[in-house]
Point group: C2
Chain length 222, copies 2
């Protein structure tokens, strides 16, 4: 799964480095910023993936999130607050819906390997980024499908970043030659595509680059 | 979840009888026969549901099933053969995708109860109709969501038909006043909307009505 952010891009690099043929899947789900889909397309091209598909699903009809509804994206939140409770940028069941589509495509392709760039350390408090959630999905996916039932392989949801800090993720990506100037992370970019620098996602990203000791190559507003 | 067939319609009747306020969810997923969506709309209206939503998702792009791809729907299969292996009418990960959307809507509504008319007896060999699959999804759903994490309820996937035969399902529905003339089951209806009477789904349906000892009120071709 490729969103065009730091985590999913690094995950593609890791899957390629491990010798997997990559089929990238992105989603147009009613997010405010479609910029991430352009980023995903650029990244898919850069990595010469076998195929890149963008699925259209309308999560706005359910609402309930600052990323898909008329709820303001919080800015300049202290980091302690981020991990305290589930933030308004959480999109109900989003990772479950995305993983379900990945499972469908994997099954049609005859693949047993789904790669997902979730992260349980700098994860902004989303329940569907926790290791126990991923394990439960994997178990369910094995029971859900033909490959899990009749096949000769075992479905695996790979989450190579789940125990890494943002700093370690960026270092890993750099070691694999990832160009982070192609990635986008902001929940609320300007119309010109500049990152706000203030939402949770921008703050986590900026902290990561600061910790690595290099400049974030994307453009920020102001 | 309401597909417009016997099982999901009976499930709506059961949920209503148990005192639940019903939010019905259907899917336009690239199925060959959109007739079932018209049936679902009629049934939703009949049961005076609180809301009925139809989600658009394109499962044809993945293919891999006779219901969404250019693969012939098998006809006149002996019943023993139906339960032997996973048939070509199986749509990869379909129930997982459908349940994932239900989970999203349930979370936004603040509901802890998802009703699904799956059936493990006359189930045509789909892996995602088995009790162990449903239990695994429920467990995953509790970990995936805000309600499961911070809420004061526990997510439950209700499958009131899972251990019933088609005969028992129809009897249950009739006792609750279900009018099965509004339902549709055929995988390959004629352009005029008549059921083929020969696909697995028609055969299971006809066997059910035969076992109850009443005439199936829908129209069949020929």
């Amino acid at each position: 799964m490729l969103s065009g952010g730091i985590d999913s891009t690094t995950t593609v690099a890791i899957a390629k480095a491990e010798g997997f043929q990559v089929y990238a899947l992105s989603f147009r789900y009613g997010q405010r910023h479609v910029m991430e889909l352009l980023a995903a397309q650029n990244i898919a091209a850069q990595f010469c993936v076998a195929a890149h598909d963008i699925i259209d699903i309308d999560l706005r009809r359910f609402g309930g999130s600052a990323l898909t509804d008329n709820i303001a994206v919080p800015k300049n939140r202290p980091k302690g607050e981020m991990s305290g409770s589930i933030p308004v940028t959480y999109v109900p069941a989003r990772n479950t819906i995305f993983l379900a589509f990945s499972l469908a495509w994997a099954e049609v392709l005859g693949s047993f390997d789904i790669f997902l760039g979730v992260n349980a350390i700098d994860y902004s408090g989303y329940p569907d980024c926790r290791p126990e959630y991923i394990e439960a999905f994997e178990r369910m996916g094995r029971l859900a499908t033909k490959v899990g039932t009749e096949g000769d392989g075992v479905l695996k949801v790979h989450t190579p970043l789940i125990r890494l800090s943002k700093k370690e993720i960026i270092q890993k990506g750099l070691s694999l030659g990832v160009d982070y100037s192609f990635t986008t992370s902001c929940y609320d970019p300007s119309p010109r595509g500049e990152a706000c620098g203030k939402c949770d996602s921008c703050q986590l990203r900026l902290d990561g680059f600061r910790a690595v000791g290099i400049r974030d190559p994307i453009r920020y507003a102001g």
